[in-house]
C-alpha cells in the first residue's frame, strides 16, 4: 500500500493502546528499569536507565532478562 499524505504513519494507523499500557518504569535491585509486563505476570527488561557504566555490565540488567 502506498500512502500519499503529509500525515505521519501513526496518525493514520494509531498504535494499540495495550502495548503502551504494558510498558512501565520500575525499580529493580535499586536501579530504574523500563520493563514490559508479560502474559504470566513476570516482567521483561527492555532498558536499564542508569548513568553508571558498570550497571550495564551486570548480567541481571541485560535487556531481555525476565524479572519474576
Amino acid at each position: 500500500m502506498i500512502l500519499y499524505t503529509p500525515l505521519s504513519e501513526t496518525d493514520i494507523f494509531p498504535t494499540d493502546e495495550q502495548t503502551l499500557v504494558k510498558r512501565q518504569c520500575m525499580t529493580h535491585q535499586g536501579k530504574m528499569c523500563f520493563v514490559e509486563q508479560k502474559g504470566d505476570g513476570s516482567y521483561e527488561m527492555l532498558q536499564l536507565l542508569s548513568t553508571d557504566p558498570n550497571d550495564f555490565l551486570n548480567g541481571d540488567f541485560q535487556p531481555g532478562t525476565i524479572i519474576k
Binding site: R23, C25, L49, T51, L57, Q62, P63, I66
Partner: protein
C-alpha cells in the same frame, strides 16, 4: 526406585533452569557472560532515538524520555563519587522544550561534561551536544541544522508564527552562547536552500561542524575520556575533597 525418581526429576529441572538462563543470555547478547570492571568515577548518559516530550511516542520508536534523564542529572550533580560525565548522542531530534530542558541541565552541571556525537545529532541534538564543557564529533557523524517544525493541531493565526519564531530564537540563542559558532553563520546554515532535498537547512558532517565552531573537536571515546580526565584534574577532583 520410587524414591530415586523424584530426585532425578529435580536435578533435571535445575539443570534445565540453569541452561535456560544461559540460553536466554546467549539469545539476547550472543554471549554467556559480560566483563566486570572496577567502579567508575565517570558516568555516561546516552541520548538515543527521539527526544520524547509531553506526548508518549508509539512503542516502535526508540526514545529518550526527559523525565528519566533529569533525575539522573541531579543524582550525578549530588553524588560526590561521580567526578565527570560523558554524554553519548545518537539522536534524530525531537521535542524542542524537552531538548532545551536537557541542554540547560547539562550546561548547569558543576562537574566536567564532555559530549560525543556518534551517528547523528540532528535538530534538537545540536543544543544538547554544545551544552557540555567540551564537545566531540565522530568523523562520520552528522548534524542536521534546520528550522523547528510543529505537528498536530495548529491554529492559523499570526500569533502562532510569532510563537514559533520565539521558540526558534531560544534554540539559536542557546547554541550561539554555548558554542563558538557565530549567530549569522548558524542562521545561514539553518535557512540554507538546496542542501536538503525539498527542505530548508544544512546537514553538517563531522569535520565541517568543527570548522564552523559548532563542535570543539573531532574524536571518539579515547579523546573524550582523555578530555574528561583532563578537566577533572583541572577542577582538582571534587570527590576526593569530600572524602578528606
Amino acid at each position: 526406585m520410587t524414591n530415586d525418581t523424584p530426585n532425578k526429576n529435580d536435578d533435571k529441572q535445575d539443570t534445565q533452569q540453569g541452561g535456560s538462563s544461559l540460553v536466554q543470555k546467549i539469545q539476547q547478547l550472543g554471549q554467556a557472560n559480560v566483563a566486570q570492571a572496577p567502579d567508575s568515577n565517570i558516568h555516561v548518559l546516552s541520548i538515543i532515538g527521539q527526544v520524547e516530550g509531553h506526548v508518549q511516542l508509539p512503542p516502535q520508536n526508540k526514545t529518550t524520555k526527559y523525565e528519566h534523564l533529569l533525575p539522573q542529572l541531579i543524582a550525578i550533580e549530588q553524588n560526590p563519587k561521580i567526578e565527570g560525565l560523558i554524554i553519548l548522542l545518537n539522536t534524530v531530534g525531537g521535542d524542542v522544550e524537552a531538548g532545551l530542558a536537557l541542554s540547560e541541565m547539562i550546561a548547569s552541571i558543576s562537574k566536567p561534561t564532555v559530549s560525543i556525537v556518534l551517528g547523528g545529532g540532528h535538530s534538537i541534538g545540536v543544543p544538547i551536544a554544545v551544552a557540555s564543557d567540551y564537545s566531540y564529533i565522530a568523523p562520520t557523524a552528522t548534524m542536521t541544522i534546520h528550522p523547528i517544525r510543529l505537528t498536530g493541531l495548529v491554529i492559523g493565526v499570526p500569533q502562532t508564527f510569532e510563537y514559533l519564531d520565539k521558540m526558534q530564537d531560544r534554540v539559536i540563542d542557546f547554541v550561539v552562547s554555548h558554542s563558538h559558532i557565530k549567530e549569522d553563520k548558524f542562521k545561514e546554515l539553518m535557512f540554507a536552500k538546496g542542501n536538503l532535498t525539498r527542505d530548508i537547512g544544512t546537514n553538517v558532517v563531522g569535520k565541517d561542524a568543527v570548522e564552523y565552531g559548532l563542535i570543539d573537536g573531532i574524536g571518539g571515546v579515547k579523546e573524550a575520556m582523555q578530555k574528561v580526565n583532563e578537566l577533572i584534574s583541572q577542577t582538582g577532583g571534587q570527590g576526593e575533597g569530600v572524602i578528606q
